[in-house]
Symmetry: C2
Subunit: 323 residues, 2 copies
């Protein structure tokens, strides 16, 4: 079985440094903002995004060493990700995030909007100071894509005509774009040519899509205590995801439940149980696996080295999250 501790051993030191830097970068000047930012930083997760960036840095850099600019890009990516989570909480009105109460409930919506703005602003500032216009352009695009993705999600809420293609497009803007663009920017900082930059963009895009599909499966299959947020919260918000979209093909009962926007108390549980009886979850898992394979395919033969092996293991590890 894969152990996440061993998996990340080659970049353990860098990730510890990143954790320290993130705290420093957000600054201790304002107790409220600091608390809001810390709130999310300390819950941290596995730092998957920065780990991928640091490994790609090792793969692509001329001397196989992570440059300070790579390290900074990994930090910026995590700050942007956190900023988007803080604003997502306001937008989704979700009560819990990563098992802690959502920032906007503890600190009010006001502080959540501010904290998100502050984090986005900090990331722009650090980004500009990487002194690489191409990287600035590539990462600026991500923030535009986020807003685009949220709007698309808003427009397709409770929309039973949503196709898997629509879902993939929505997931691209919401999740995959940040990973794709930061993988590409990592290669840029290593002065790789356009083809290699593009390889890592494609790698990141498929990895990000798989990541989102698995997150959406967990929203259906996990218990609230394990998930760190209420199970079925996507459904509640009308965010229709892969397992449900596949299940819809098999069981038309679901149309009614969605159309009435899960009106009755037990509707979410009923929907989850119906989905579990269809092939929806398996099909979603297959789709995630397919994207992981597409991601691995891009890098497997072109960049043969130990770090690429680790990157492939991490890519597979993402699939194991739901086992």
């Amino acid at each position: 079985m894969l152990s996440s501790k061993n998996l990340f051993s080659s970049i353990n030191k860098d990730i510890s440094e990143l954790n320290i830097n993130l705290q420093k970068m957000i600054g201790a000047k304002h107790p409220i903002l600091y608390a809001a930012a810390k709130h999310l930083f300390k819950t941290g997760g596995k730092r998957i995004r920065p780990s991928i960036i640091l490994l790609i840095a090792k793969i692509t850099a001329k001397d196989k060493k992570i440059k300070p600019e790579h390290q900074r890009l990994a930090e910026i990516t995590e700050i942007i990700h956190t900023a988007s989570l803080v604003h997502d909480d306001v937008i989704d009105d979700c009560d819990t995030r990563r098992g802690l109460e959502a920032v906007h409930n503890i600190f009010t919506t006001k502080i959540a909007v501010l904290a998100g703005d502050f984090l986005f602003a900090q990331s722009s500032w650090y980004l500009a100071n990487l002194n690489n216009l191409e990287v600035v352009k590539t990462i600026s695009k991500v923030i535009t894509d986020f807003a685009e993705g949220e709007v698309r999600q808003g427009l397709t809420n409770f929309d039973i005509t949503i196709s898997i293609e629509d879902y993939i497009e929505k997931s691209f803007y919401k999740t995959a774009t940040l990973i794709a663009c930061s993988c590409k920017a990592t290669a840029m900082l290593s002065n790789c040519n356009k083809n290699i930059q593009n390889d890592f963009y494609i790698y990141g895009k498929h990895l990000g899509l798989a990541f989102q599909i698995i997150d959406d499966i967990l929203d259906i299959t996990s218990q609230t205590d394990k998930l760190g947020k209420p199970a079925g919260s996507d459904l509640k918000n009308g965010n229709l995801t892969a397992p449900l979209i596949f299940a819809l093909e098999e069981n038309p009962q679901l149309y009614k439940l969605i159309n009435q926007e899960f009106l009755y108390e037990n509707d979410i549980n009923r929907t989850i149980n119906i989905i579990k009886k269809t092939k929806g979850i398996q099909k979603a898992k297959d789709l995630a696996e397919e994207h992981i394979q597409l991601a691995i395919q891009v890098i497997k033969n072109k960049f043969k080295c130990n770090n690429t092996e680790t990157l492939i293991l991490i890519s597979n590890y993402i699939l194991y999250r739901f086992n």
Copy 2:
């Protein structure tokens, strides 16, 4: 008497172009975002910020002509300003802005957060595409300053120990920094040397401070219908501004009203009436005038030309707003 029509005649064509571009830049892809953005763009105001930028462009450019990059910077500045207004509405929970209902009431908080993020993101994207790293750094700083300013404002709400110095610092982050940095960036785009860049920074800083002081006076002296937002709304939010801070020195009755956070229905009106009986408003006007003079002083003799004359007239025009 100054007529705003004549005042802006030398850049009328450029401002019309700017209005068209702003609509285009925000894009018509998403009806909701478009509506939210349009909502503020159409209420427009006098486009004071872009007008100042375009005039400084004419003053500083080698051939005295506005470059496409100057035009774009003027647009970016107006987008950032609008983004900050949209998020301010969520933060202040203010019911009306520029006479129209606040975006977050019509379109819900969700869309307001999104629309603000979208506008900030668009501005970062256009900014990166100016292809000038120094300008990117200068303007990125502004967005960090906004968040800083809002937090400072939050921390000093209903705080009767606030000094005029604290108030000026808060106003710097909230208003003056955008004007100062965009004036500086205009000179950067004209390839001016550091001294000239700094002159326009100082000019913009003092102009911005005067601008904020006058806005704060209008919050006390204007009728709701004329102001486009409820009179005394700063007070209601606990945002203590120049006229009140000066009035506090004269009438200690105000301490109690602030300390009880304008608890009773008539407290805001009582406070406004007390302020009007002190020298608070006159002292605030004098402070604004002082900053306008400091702004004019920087540019008057160094950059003698017709456009500088117009810029000085516009600077004075800002003072006339409350007459």
